[in-house]
């Protein structure tokens, strides 16, 4: 009797172990696949020849563009029944002065505004118009989903996936920049 109970106890403990082991391995499955770094690793045996190349550029040697640059401009594809959309872009200020985005114009839509987004504690998203968006010297302001965006009201034509549309970005102390936004 005693030995039977002991066996029961031992086996049930083992079942418990196995279960937690399974759970652990399940959670490990979600981890990303190992990355093979070997392919791109430099051949260190010849390092004497390459030493000069490996030396990083000092911060102050990086060329300053002295201009406003944009990166990854895109408009969200919306079904043709939807007259509204939003556009996003990263704006880098390579000048030594603060630059302010004051407006966006395009033939694309009836009205285009600069918007920001607020999310309250309950997860409710609300957006509101802002007059302008400041970009500090030598910094980048990112307009992105769920954040500041270019709000497009009243599309004159439905968007087509993959097409490019041009919008003009105006600044307070810089000439306007035409930017091609891709629809995606």
């Amino acid at each position: 009797m005693r030995s039977l109970l002991l066996i029961l106890l031992i086996s049930s403990v083992c079942i418990a172990c196995e279960r937690s082991a399974q759970e652990n391995s399940n959670s490990n499955n979600s981890a990303s696949a190992p990355v093979d770094n070997s392919a791109g690793s430099p051949n260190n045996n010849n390092s004497s020849d390459l030493a000069v190349v490996d030396e990083p550029l000092a911060e102050d040697e990086l060329p300053s563009s002295g201009t406003i640059e944009v990166d990854n401009p895109w408009i969200r594809m919306v079904p043709s029944v939807s007259p509204n959309s939003a556009a996003y872009v990263s704006i880098s200020n390579g000048t030594e002065e603060s630059v302010t985005l004051t407006g966006i114009s395009s033939q694309l839509a009836d009205r285009i505004e600069i918007h920001n987004v607020e999310v309250d504690a309950a997860g409710t998203m609300s957006m509101f118009e802002i007059d302008s968006l400041e970009i500090e010297p030598d910094s980048t302001t990112v307009l992105e989903p769920s954040g500041a965006h270019i709000m497009i009201y009243g599309l004159k034509e439905p968007l087509t996936e993959g097409e490019m549309v041009t919008m003009m970005l105006s600044f307070d102390n810089q000439p306007p920049i035409p930017v091609n936004f891709s629809v995606k």
């Binding site: 109970l5 049930s12 079904p79 998203m125 609300s126 957006m127």
Partner: protein, 202 residues
């Protein structure tokens, strides 16, 4: 004295053994990553309201019974959150088996502008299997309140320019037609699909 001690030890051991055996023979509920899908400890009932679906049919939330449903509460004039949520739903959908019992839908909180035809064109743009419905403001108020969704119309309702602030999570219904959990943003389609498959397989 010693014997008594041994008997107590055995009794305790057998109790523990019985407990473990009972535990391990129970069907296991899937372990859901609650940072992806928050499954409520207790399901909740949806308000029993009448809705009009995208095909012009009258339905009630009871018609959602039989399948898992991922519902988003939004509107078709929405520039940012709604198209993003529906694009994410499409990404989730494409990661599920074709014969899945997990369905996706949009409940419009803007019946003034979102007609059934408009809703149908909107959601089927994202995926031909997507579904949509809406109702009058009173029914939408009751339905959203029963699933903890908040919305508020801001701007001038007499023009087409007004916008609707709303919750940005997806609402999960179980096959009993109960509100079973929520899927908070930001939405990661890969992770959500993985957790939904686990739930639907249980």
């Amino acid at each position: 004295m010693l014997n008594k001690g041994i008997i107590i030890a055995i009794a305790l051991a057998s109790l523990a053994a019985g407990y473990f055996v009972a535990q391990s023979s129970k069907p296991q509920a899937p372990v859901i990553d609650d940072s992806v899908i928050f499954v409520y400890p207790q399901t909740r009932s949806l308000a029993n309201v009448s809705l009009t679906d995208m095909n012009g049919q009258n339905i009630t939330p009871a018609d959602f019974k039989g399948d898992w449903w991922v519902l988003y509460f939004g509107f078709t004039f929405c520039p940012d959150a709604c198209p993003m949520a529906l694009a994410n739903m499409k990404q989730i959908k494409t990661r599920l088996p074709e014969n899945t019992n997990i369905k996706f839908g949009l409940i419009s909180v803007d019946p003034q502008r979102d007609t059934p035809e408009r809703l149908k064109e909107y959601v089927t743009f994202f995926h031909p299997d997507f579904y949509a419905a809406t109702s009058d403001a009173a029914a939408i108020d009751a339905l959203t309140a029963s699933v903890n969704v908040v919305y508020a119309i801001s701007g001038d309702r007499s023009s087409d320019d007004y916008t609707v602030d709303h919750s940005n999570f997806m609402v999960l219904l179980n096959p009993a037609g109960k509100h079973a959990g929520i899927i908070s943003s930001p939405h990661d389609p890969e992770k959500i699909a993985t957790e939904l498959r686990k739930l639907a397989a249980s």
